[in-house]
Symmetry: C2
Subunit: 334 residues, 2 copies
DNA sequence: CTGAAAGCGCTAACAA
DNA sequence: TTGTTAGCGCTTTCAG
């Protein structure tokens, strides 16, 4: 069943069918009705590929999300989506798995969907100029920036929190509460990802407060996985450590850690205070409720969308927006 | 940059370029190298639409997942994916939001991607023959079946747990532990979804055990949302109810409920035992750890994949597989 | 092993 | 308001 068949069955030309299907104004009511009826009768569905191929222009904006099914991103995506639709554009969402390359995915989308712009959600921090040659439309990095890459600031946009600073504030919070032996739970110290960024905030804070960075208090998980965080924490707890507080670089990892703490009979926050960064919904339902520095999800999405649309529409220049986090008090601090 | 440009730059014909790009065997090493080099030099990326349009056959199997970023499905998807790839097919994954129509999405995919088969993950329970006329390839429903629709069993396949029976077992477990006043936390009693199915298991169990179905013990949330479950539970707890146990139809809802219980100073499991169904990772990290009847995620995915491939390859008939759940002991039972 | 050319199903000038 | 037709960028016969 192709557009030709529909045209024949409706007794009109393919262009008329195309016009009806695309809501063009210059079609008579009679023609429209006839076509619609045939379309309905035969359950005709136009072929997207052919459509996309034939088109000369679109109003598509792509969103590439790294990390399939990461509840962390849902609110951000929703906000971006609303922003894009409100401005009259269409959001083309693509979620990719841990193993996939977001740049190549985006590059392909850009060509296939004739994108006007792109937003990368949760990508890597080390994009290079070389890589980005594949992307020829404006793009904004959302929840991350190019900390470990070599892009020129003027060549891309970003919306994110200040990860180093936020980590610093988390540690500061613990310090002010009287903690002097503060452990850190992270993915990898120097993997060039958010983990490294947040760790460096931890390091700087300790130094500023006159504390030593104690290797025994660095718990490396080598993943952001909750189960792995639990296991590594469990392992770490087997040895005795002089330590009263834990800074987990993400809510998710904190959740794993808290289970390990519970099993080791360490009371939170009495035996061990815990603070994290992110503010995902699940951590709000922990017992005790996790104290964490929340990313302003909705605002991140909104700003990213707005920024990109500004650039697309008015040819504005790239910008780098840094948003503030807010402390969710929770019950893991003392 | 099109295939023509590459052909010209490499000094060969477009068909040779196409052959190289698609790993056809009948190309000389020299030609291959030349093409590859030009492709690399210009960062050429073939247009998917044109590709898909031109192709006469594919090895694509579609997977439509309802519920963006539902961590519940990740393991299932992984298992399906492995199954499909191992059999030499390609998985085409499409996640859709709550508002989208999975049948239309699938129908479009079927045509666009020339699918050989489809798996629906987490869809609705009321597909009709009329609707399914849009789907012309074999498909298997994963984690749900056609309980409230009118499909012929022989026209589709399914892999899921027995929701009624599982709910029955959950209640039975509570009953055997001595509970006689058992509340149920659900989405909507009769929304034609999993919630209704599980509720009917609850009802039947109560009847079998000689207990009354007490309207005061039915907590309707009208969504599967954790925050809403929390709120409704909170509301419900404001009134005094003679009740010692809660059956939540999903882990997620149980998590919301447990926070409400905690805030109402109801100790779990002493004041209120809790059991749920699903077995998602997060509920394992609750405190106390949620007792729940786990769906065999990986097995569900594996069976679904295997089933579909059997049908595609050997023209086998449709089948309906019912998998058993397993109790995760947890700490919310007493 | 290679190239020419005919589609794939649609959109979009251009003419009528 | 409508129809004709030339692409869109690729794959795939079919010759050579």
């Amino acid at each position: 069943m192709t557009i030709k068949d529909i045209a024949r069955l409706a007794g009109v030309s393919v262009s008329t069918v195309s016009r009806v299907l695309n809501d063009h104004p210059d079609v008579s009511e009679t023609a429209k009705e006839k076509v619609m009826q045939v379309v309905a009768e035969y359950n005709y569905i136009p072929n997207t590929n052919a459509r996309e191929l034939g088109k000369t222009s679109t109003d598509n904006i792509g969103v590439v999300v790294r990390g399939m099914s990461n509840p962390f991103y849902t609110d951000i995506i929703t906000a971006i989506g609303r922003c894009i639709e409100d401005a009259g554009y269409t959001m083309v969402l693509q979620q990719i798995g841990a193993g996939d390359d977001e740049i190549m995915t985006a590059a392909r989308m850009e060509r296939d969907k004739r994108l006007l712009g792109l937003v990368f959600l949760g990508g890597k921090l080390d994009y290079t100029k070389e890589q980005m040659k594949n992307i020829n439309v404006p793009y904004v990095c959302c929840t991350f920036s190019n900390e470990y890459g070599n892009l020129d600031d003027k060549d891309y946009s970003s919306v994110c929190i200040d990860d180093k600073q936020t980590a610093y504030e988390a540690v500061e919070k613990l310090f002010k509460l009287g903690h002097r032996k503060i452990a850190v739970l992270l993915s990898t110290i120097d993997d060039g990802s958010i983990s490294q960024l947040r760790f460096s905030g931890y390091e700087r804070a300790l130094k500023d407060f006159g504390l030593e960075v104690d290797e025994d208090l660095i718990i490396e998980v080598n993943s952001y996985n909750i189960a792995n965080a639990y296991q590594e924490m469990k392992k770490w707890l087997k040895k005795e450590h002089e330590c009263t507080a834990l800074f987990a670089i993400s809510d998710n990892m904190a959740m794993g850690a808290m289970k390990a703490l519970k099993e080791a009979n360490k009371k939170v926050p009495d035996d061990m205070a815990v603070i994290a960064i992110d503010g995902i919904e699940a951590s709000e339902y922990m017992n005790p409720e996790l104290s964490t520095l929340c990313q302003p999800m909705e605002k991140i999405g909104k700003e990213a969308g707005k920024l990109l649309i500004d650039i697309i529409q008015e040819n504005k220049t790239n910008k780098h927006i840094i948003l503030k986090t807010s402390l969710r008090k929770g019950e893991t601090l003392k």
